[in-house]
């Protein structure tokens, strides 16, 4: 089943008069899904469309089958993890990532992709990224901040990003994990092959360069 046949419905954030006009992706454009159980789904869909991908929502296992790459959005990692389990998406997602599916996780997405968390409480994780991550590592909401940050491999100057109750990586568990950016010495952008993760939100600022770099690595259909 091709994801392009998944009907595009109204989604939270896309309210009232509908979606703004966006460029139509070409026939060869990769189908990039955004996990749409909870979180800032619409922001990712919009960025992906601006950088030329065919962006679709993923709420079910059949929808997951139809995508060439997947974004795990910002949101509440405990909520998204539980919903992955309850709607039988966790195992299929883990299988596709093990199979080499390119994935990008931002904030909650980084937490979900991590193999380990720096906390006692258990929560469902997708895993695959060989790092240990600490949730809310910069503090509570009043400590959330906007910043400009240099990211290796992203040309054109520092990226404009937002850290919102953001996590950070506290330990890299495997030498194949590249650290592409740090704040206060902690990795905040990491990449391990096809798995990308950022502690911040590039999707809420209009700086589309990281998404463009990610989409560029997705093999053509």
């Amino acid at each position: 089943m091709s994801a392009s046949f998944v009907p595009e419905r109204w989604i939270p954030g896309e309210r009232l008069t509908g979606a703004p006009v966006v460029p139509r992706p070409g026939p060869d454009a990769p189908v990039v899904g955004v996990l749409s159980l909870q979180g800032d789904v619409i922001e990712h869909l919009r960025v992906l469309r601006r950088v030329g991908a065919h962006a679709v929502q993923v709420k079910s296992a059949p929808q997951l089958e139809g995508v060439d790459a997947l974004v795990l959005p910002g949101g509440e990692s405990t909520t998204i993890g539980k919903l992955l389990v309850r709607f039988d998406l966790l195992s299929p997602l883990q299988a596709r990532i093990a199979d080499g599916l390119p994935v990008l996780g931002t904030c909650a997405g980084m937490i979900l992709l991590s193999d380990e968390l720096d906390q006692v409480e258990e929560q469902p994780l997708v895993g695959g990224l060989r790092v240990r991550t600490r949730r809310n590592a910069f503090g509570r909401q009043q400590d959330s901040f906007d910043a400009r940050i240099e990211v290796m491999g992203i040309d054109g100057g520092p990226m404009d990003v937002a850290f919102i109750r953001a996590p950070r990586v506290v330990a890299v568990l495997d030498p194949t994990v590249e650290v592409l950016a740090r704040v206060e010495d902690a990795p905040v952008v990491v990449r391990q092959g096809a798995i990308w993760a950022t502690a911040f939100h590039p999707e809420v600022t209009g700086d589309d360069r990281l998404h463009a770099a990610f989409v560029a690595t997705v093999p053509p259909r």
Partner: protein
């Protein structure tokens, strides 16, 4: 290969972007009223994206009467320490010192709420003065835009809290959506008149007209008691749902909380809503609005 020596430059806290951004991260989720750390744990376990810490749920405030105020800081601390999800707390309308206290406790969002007894009959809190973001209730577009002008970073429909009756939330969601749709048909000259009619800044009115949406996240609140209520609000254009008395005043809070979370995610799929609605036990009893005296309606508080 590691990054050479990158560093975050010009970090800024308390910006509109991070205030509104946290609300963006809550989209598609359910925020639950809790009065104890134990309830907060149940809410988090059920999949809530945040909890609202308060001393009494609206149904009890209604039943017991008296002046309803900000919660005891000990109680808020207890909830903050119990859960890892964001914690919100309520301040009275206009009570900027309650808001200062809540900010000092490190809550993640302040609800300047009509459910508590208003502390100022003319002025809402100047929310621009705070690094912590605020959510405010609204019954129509003009009220929502006035709250945004004062610095609110998130809006919720007021509904009629503590009634278990969704009719007022429906009215407010339809009002806000319909008024924005009408703005979108207007020319520039008409927008000035519309701003006057809505008693809202013309810049915000114009932004709604151009984008077809509020500039911030719009949740629904006030009377949501069942998974179908939550799904209906989502189909009416809500970005997410606040549930107050509806969970912990029902027969089986754990299961109902979970069902409302799942119905909010799959709000467009009646099969899922039906499945999660089975065997939930007693919903909260509820109040019919036509038997509720005008002076007991919370939605009329705030201006």
């Amino acid at each position: 290969m590691n990054a050479a020596d990158p560093h975050a430059t010009d970090p800024r806290t308390g910006t509109s972007r991070v205030k509104r951004g946290l609300a963006d991260m809550l989209k598609g989720g359910v925020i639950m009223d809790v009065v104890t750390p134990e309830q907060a744990r149940i809410a988090e376990e059920a999949g809530a994206v945040a909890v609202m810490a308060l001393e009494r749920v609206p149904a009890d405030i209604r039943a017991q009467g008296g002046v309803a105020r900000m919660s005891d800081p000990d109680m808020i601390d207890g909830i903050v320490e119990t859960v890892s999800i964001p914690v919100m707390a309520k301040a009275r309308i206009g009570h900027f010192v309650e808001a200062q206290v809540l900010a000092s406790l490190g809550v993640d969002y302040i609800d300047e709420s009509e459910v508590l007894t208003p502390a100022d009959e003319a002025h809402h809190i100047d929310k621009w003065r705070f690094d912590v973001p605020f959510v405010c209730g609204a019954t129509n577009l003009g009220e929502a835009l006035r709250r945004l002008a004062e610095g609110a970073a998130m809006i919720r429909s007021k509904g009629e809290a503590g009634t278990g009756n969704v009719v007022e939330a429906t009215r407010h969601m339809r009002a806000i959506a319909g008024e924005i749709r009408r703005l979108a048909t207007m020319d520039e000259t008409e927008l000035y008149a519309a701003a006057k009619e809505h008693r809202a800044p013309v810049e915000l009115v114009r932004e709604c007209a151009e984008t077809g949406r509020l500039p911030v996240v719009l949740f629904t609140a006030g009377g949501i008691a069942t998974p179908a209520d939550a799904a209906m609000m989502m189909q009416l254009g809500a970005d997410g749902v606040f549930v107050g008395s509806g969970i912990f005043k029902s027969g089986n809070p754990e299961q109902r909380a979970r069902a409302i979370v799942e119905a909010t995610t799959h709000f467009e799929d009646p099969g899922v809503v039906a499945k999660v609605s089975r065997g939930l036990g007693e919903a909260m009893v509820g109040i019919n609005l036509d038997t509720l005296p005008e002076d007991e309606k919370y939605a009329a508080r705030g201006w």
